[in-house]
Structure formats: structure tokens, C-alpha cells
């Protein structure tokens, strides 16, 4: 069985199509668990590339006391999920890299002592109670470095000190990076040091995303804040500026105040000016903020009143992005006023997108009311589409979607949830020669620049990845795809065939 790994490496893992009795060194015969790959990698030495295929992995990635230098590369839609376990990572991870992996539903992201944090690139973190284990040495938590990562519903508190940590082009939504729980209550940390936020979206309405002293090296450059997202400062010189002497921080009078962005329902020590990206120096407490160095922490930051994560939502106000909820698009032009962006790496790693929900509406191309064809699909009380209980798979053939003009497709994503991980997937169920076992999350699409697509052929692409087609017309989600020669997809009209498959190994 081909597994269609795109990356080369030393060991391969597939929760859907793997088996731990395999050697794991051949992409056509991968391991089933990450634990098997780590065991093999540690026995083989350092600098191993572990390629992890699409699927849900309910296991702790344990390094033990052995040093690593390994790279864990997600190849597709990879979810490391915390059901039944406590720690996502244990052991010595300091020299490891994690790329394109989603961590979901953990009590702790990381166990063990300080300075053992890995590097994360293109990773997602969702519903993680604590990013660090507060029981670490001296109670100090050293932050990992994150690039193009998203955080949703993540917290980090009960440590005394938080050290270092860099966030490049990250999104933090309903999350905080210091000692405050996500709703803004609880004790703030006054010793968060040298944390740098570059090109990030910080979205924590009416709550805090960071707290600390203004003179310990933390900076925000080219970031966008949603209104009323707050940053709190520990400085006794600011104590007089706490609004009406109320203790917004919950940490006592020693927390001098906070800065908020945009229209505020309470009196902050400063409000950023959205027209200039600088602070509103007319605010009466501005001079105090200047004196304690707050202004120097910020460069080219802006705020937006709110982020609509499903902007341009067509046909529904009920878009329910379940498993994929940490990937969202932002279309507000304000988000792109930041001068941090080079034009290559978008702010927060996001790009404008269009989302469709499940509402019964004539403007929803995914619903029969909008022209879609459902096969074995029913609406769901959970919010979304659901396979009819009598079917082993179900498909939605969308109405033809008019983009208004030919556009290069960056990627097409899906929100997907199941109670049977690796036994159900948004995957294809084609007949004939391509009726292979699904090892990636796939969809079918036909496209063109004429509204009548009836003569076009459906091709297989991969959810969440840039769709491409090779010289013989094979889509990049197909196992027959040769990535050595390809072109991007550019079209005005699109039609999607999406299948929720619960028979992962059988044939049609």
C-alpha cells in the first residue's frame, strides 16, 4: 500500500495505514505510532527525520533522558491528541524540532525541566491547559520558540518566572503567554522576561495576553491586537493609574495597570492609536507609561475592533470549525497595515479566505438549498454535516462556486471531527484504479474558467495543502501524483466533491 509521503526521512509513521511490526524506514511500510519511531531513532543515533503522516496520535512523545536532535515533520494533517494522557511531550526535547503538527486537548504541553523546550514551526496548539509544567526547576519556565503557530484556548500559569520565547507570525486566540488564565482573571506574572512577538495576531478580548515588567526585554513588533485585548504591567509607579483603584489583575495593588487596544470599556493606562500605530499620547496616564518604558516595547502595532475568523462567510452564520478550528482566515485589510510583513510571510501566517457553513440557504453552495447534491449526508445536531447512519460513507457535491475572477487556490480546508480517530476521515472514495486505502485527508475538485464544468474531470487534492496538478493531470492528493513536475491551480469556477468516509480500509 502506498502511503504517499511527501517528505523524505529516516522513519515514517502513519496512524491510518501503519503497523509497528514494520521496519518504519520505508514510506510504503511505516510505523503506526510515534513511540515506535522514537524508539528506533534513539537506537540509531542523532539527527533523525521522523515523518508523521495524516492521522490522530493519542500518545505522549517521550524522549526519556536521551538527547535528541531529531525532527518530527508532520506530512499532512497530523493531530497529537491528549485523550488518556497528561503530557504531550516528556523528556529531553531541547534539541528537537516539531513541524506542521497539531497538539490538541492536553493538560500540559511539556513535562520536565527548564531549557528542554523544542522548536515549533507551523504547529497548532488548542485547548492546552498549560504550555509548561509549572513544577519546573525554581518554578521557572523557559519558553520554546514558535514560528507560524496558532494557539487557541491555551494557558500558562502558576510559574514564578517565564524566560525567553519568541513568537514569529503566530496567532494567539483566547490564549495567554504568561501567568493569566484565558479569561483574564488570576494572578499575573511580574517576571516574564525577554519574550518577543513579531508579526503576531493577539486576540484575547477583555483579557490579558501577557503580563510582566516593561524593562525585561519583552517586545511587540508589527503585531495586531483585537480591541480590549490587554497587556498588563507590573510597576509600582503605575499603581495610581489603576482605574478607580479596581484590581483588574486580581494580583493586588502591586500590579500597576494595563494597556488595552482600541475602544475600551474601562480606563487603561494607554490606548494605541490605530491611525498611526502609536500610542495616544493625550491620555492622562501616558507620561507615566513613558516613564516606565512601556512605549519602547511596541513598534508598528495596530488594533482592529474584532476579528471575524469566518469573514466573507457565505451562506451561513453557523460555520462550525471543529477539529480544524485553529486555522482561520482573516480578510480585514487592517490586518495587513502592519509594517512587519515582508509580503512573503503574512501577518500571523494567515491569508484572507472564504468560509461556508452548513446552513440551509440558497447562497450556501454546500447545501441542497444552494444547489449541492448530498449522498448519504444529513445535517447534524453537533453543528455541521454528518454521515447518515445507514451509509458507510457520504458525499457532498457542491454547487459551482464562482470566485468572480480566476484565482490561484492557496488551499481548501475543512473542519472535521470524529469519535473514532483514524477510523473515519474526510477522504475520497473513488472507484476504479484509484480506489486505494486513504492515508491522507483528501477531496475531489473540478475547475475551469467557464461556468459549465460538466466536461471537466474531478481530481484528488489534499485538505489544507496547496492544490497542484502534475503534467499528466493528476491532482496533488492522489497517490499517483508525481511532485517532480507540477503547476498551481488557477480557476474562476470550482466544484468540490467532499466525502466523509468511515470505511477506511475496504473497497467500494
Amino acid at each position: 500500500m502506498a502511503n504517499h509521503f511527501k517528505f523524505s526521512g529516516d522513519y515514517f509513521v502513519s496512524a491510518i495505514g501503519g503497523n509497528d511490526s514494520n521496519a518504519g524506514t520505508d514510506p510504503s511500510a511505516p510505523f503506526k505510532t510515534i513511540g515506535a519511531a522514537v524508539t528506533a531513532a534513539q537506537a540509531a543515533g542523532d539527527y533523525k527525520q521522523i515523518i508523521i503522516g495524516t492521522g490522530v496520535y493519542q500518545e505522549t512523545i517521550a524522549m526519556g533522558s536521551a538527547y535528541g536532535y531529531h525532527t518530527f515533520q508532520g506530512d499532512g494533517e497530523v493531530y497529537v491528541e491528549g485523550t488518556g494522557n497528561t503530557f504531550a511531550l516528556t523528556g529531553y526535547h531541547r534539541l528537537n524540532w516539531f513541524k506542521n503538527i497539531n497538539f490538541l486537548n492536553w493538560t500540559f504541553q511539556l513535562d520536565t525541566g527548564e531549557q528542554q523546550e523544542p522548536q515549533y514551526v507551523d504547529c497548532g496548539f488548542r485547548d492546552i491547559i498549560q504550555m509548561n509544567d509549572y513544577r519546573q526547576r525554581y518554578n521557572n519556565a523557559y519558553y520554546a520558540n514558535y514560528t507560524n503557530c496558532t494557539f487557541e484556548g491555551c494557558g500558562n500559569w502558576k510559574t514564578n518566572e517565564l524566560e525567553t520565547g519568541t513568537y514569529n507570525n503566530c496567532v494567539l486566540r483566547n490564549s495567554n503567554t504568561t501567568g493569566l488564565i484565558a479569561d483574564g482573571s488570576g494572578i499575573g506574572r511580574n517576571t516574564a522576561n525577554a519574550q518577543m512577538f513579531n508579526g503576531c495576531i493577539l486576540d484575547n478580548p477583555n483579557a490579558f495576553v501577557w503580563s510582566g515588567t516593561p524593562d525585561q526585554g519583552t517586545s511587540f513588533k508589527g503585531c495586531v491586537f483585537t480591541a480590549n485585548t490587554r497587556v498588563a504591567y507590573y510597576d509600582t509607579n503605575l499603581s495610581d493609574y489603576t482605574y478607580n483603584s479596581n484590581d483588574y489583575m486580581g494580583g493586588g495593588a502591586s500590579y500597576g495597570g494595563f494597556l488595552t487596544y482600541g475602544p475600551s470599556d474601562v480606563d487603561p493606562i494607554g490606548i494605541i492609536d490605530n491611525n498611526t500605530g502609536t500610542f495616544n499620547i493625550a491620555h492622562p496616564s501616558w507620561s507615566a507609561a513613558m516613564q516606565v518604558g512601556i512605549a519602547s516595547m511596541y513598534r508598528d502595532c495596530y488594533y482592529v475592533n474584532e476579528i471575524d475568523y469566518n469573514t466573507q462567510l457565505s451562506g451561513s452564520g453557523m460555520f462550525n470549525n471543529l477539529a480544524d478550528g485553529i486555522k482561520f482566515g482573516i480578510s480585514s485589510s487592517l490586518m495587513y497595515k502592519s509594517t512587519n510583513g515582508t509580503g512573503i510571510i503574512p501577518l500571523g501566517g494567515t491569508t484572507p479566505s472564504i468560509a461556508y457553513g452548513y446552513e440551509s440557504s440558497s447562497t450556501n453552495p454546500l447545501h441542497p438549498m444552494g444547489g449541492a447534491i448530498w449522498q448519504g449526508i444529513t445535517t447534524s445536531s453537533l453543528g455541521g454535516f454528518q454521515i447518515d447512519g445507514s451509509e458507510h460513507s457520504g458525499s457532498i457535491i457542491s454547487a459551482v462556486i464562482d470566485q468572480g475572477a480566476p484565482k490561484i487556490i492557496d488551499n481548501i480546508g475543512i473542519g472535521f471531527s470524529t469519535t473514532a480517530p483514524n477510523a473515519a476521515a474526510p477522504s475520497t472514495y473513488p472507484s476504479g484504479a484509484n480506489n486505494h486505502n486513504p492515508v491522507r485527508y483528501q477531496y475531489e475538485m473540478r475547475y475551469g474558467n467557464a461556468s459549465d464544468l460538466s466536461s471537466e474531470t474531478y481530481r484528488i487534492f489534499e485538505w489544507g495543502q496547496k492544490p497542484r496538478i502534475n503534467s499528466n493531470g493528476t491532482g496533488s492528493g492522489d497517490q499517483l501524483y508525481d511532485s517532480g513536475s507540477y503547476s498551481n491551480i488557477s480557476a474562476r469556477y470550482l466544484q468540490l466533491k467532499m466525502t466523509l468516509r468511515i470505511d477506511m480500509s475496504g473497497s467500494l
Binding site: D20, T39, Q58, E59
Partner: protein
């Protein structure tokens, strides 16, 4: 419970994971000592796994014999979700002190 005074003067509770010691100053130096012990060579113990060519990690042990009265041993134990799997559910790292 075993509270031990380490050669560097700090305390450690040997019933607890070395990373999860009490959050008081008298214990705060224990991880420094443990880190030193872990500079020694590591000995691994494996147990049979479902793949005969891939034994499962059972323990990883460091021993420091450089002290006069006691040897200090740090053992990381691996716990698996099922005996027939490599998927790890938890690990635990503890220090033990043994008379020479």
C-alpha cells in the same frame, strides 16, 4: 516518603519525580544535582515489543559513583498505553541513593 539531603546541600523527595519536587527553596537545587548525575553514561533496558526487531524502552539509567558514601542513580521509566504497543502514556524520572 524519603527526604534526602544531596551533596550540594539541597533536599530531594525521592518518592517524587525529579522534575516535580516541592516548590520551596530548600528543594530548588536538587535539579542541579540531578543534571550532574545525568552527565554520566546512560544505560538503557529494553523489553520485548510487538516488533521483534524493535525492543521497547523500559528504563534509562544514569549512575554517579563519584561520591564517597553513596551512589546516586536516576532512572527514567516508560509506561505504555498497552503492553502490545509502543505508544507511551507517561514517563517518570526518579533519583535513588544507594550505599556503596
Amino acid at each position: 516518603m524519603a527526604i534526602v539531603i544531596l551533596p550540594n546541600g539541597s533536599k530531594i523527595n525521592t518518592n517524587l519525580d525529579i522534575y516535580h519536587q516541592p516548590r520551596t527553596d530548600e528543594y530548588s537545587g536538587s535539579i542541579d544535582f540531578c543534571t550532574e548525575v545525568m552527565q554520566n553514561n546512560m544505560a538503557s533496558v529494553f523489553i520485548p515489543g510487538p516488533n521483534s526487531d524493535l525492543p521497547k524502552r523500559d528504563t534509562q539509567t544514569f549512575i554517579d559513583t563519584s561520591y564517597d558514601t553513596y551512589n546516586y542513580k536516576i532512572v527514567t521509566s516508560f509506561h505504555y498505553k498497552k503492553s502490545s504497543e509502543y505508544a507511551v502514556s507517561a514517563t517518570q524520572t526518579k533519583l535513588t541513593r544507594e550505599e556503596k
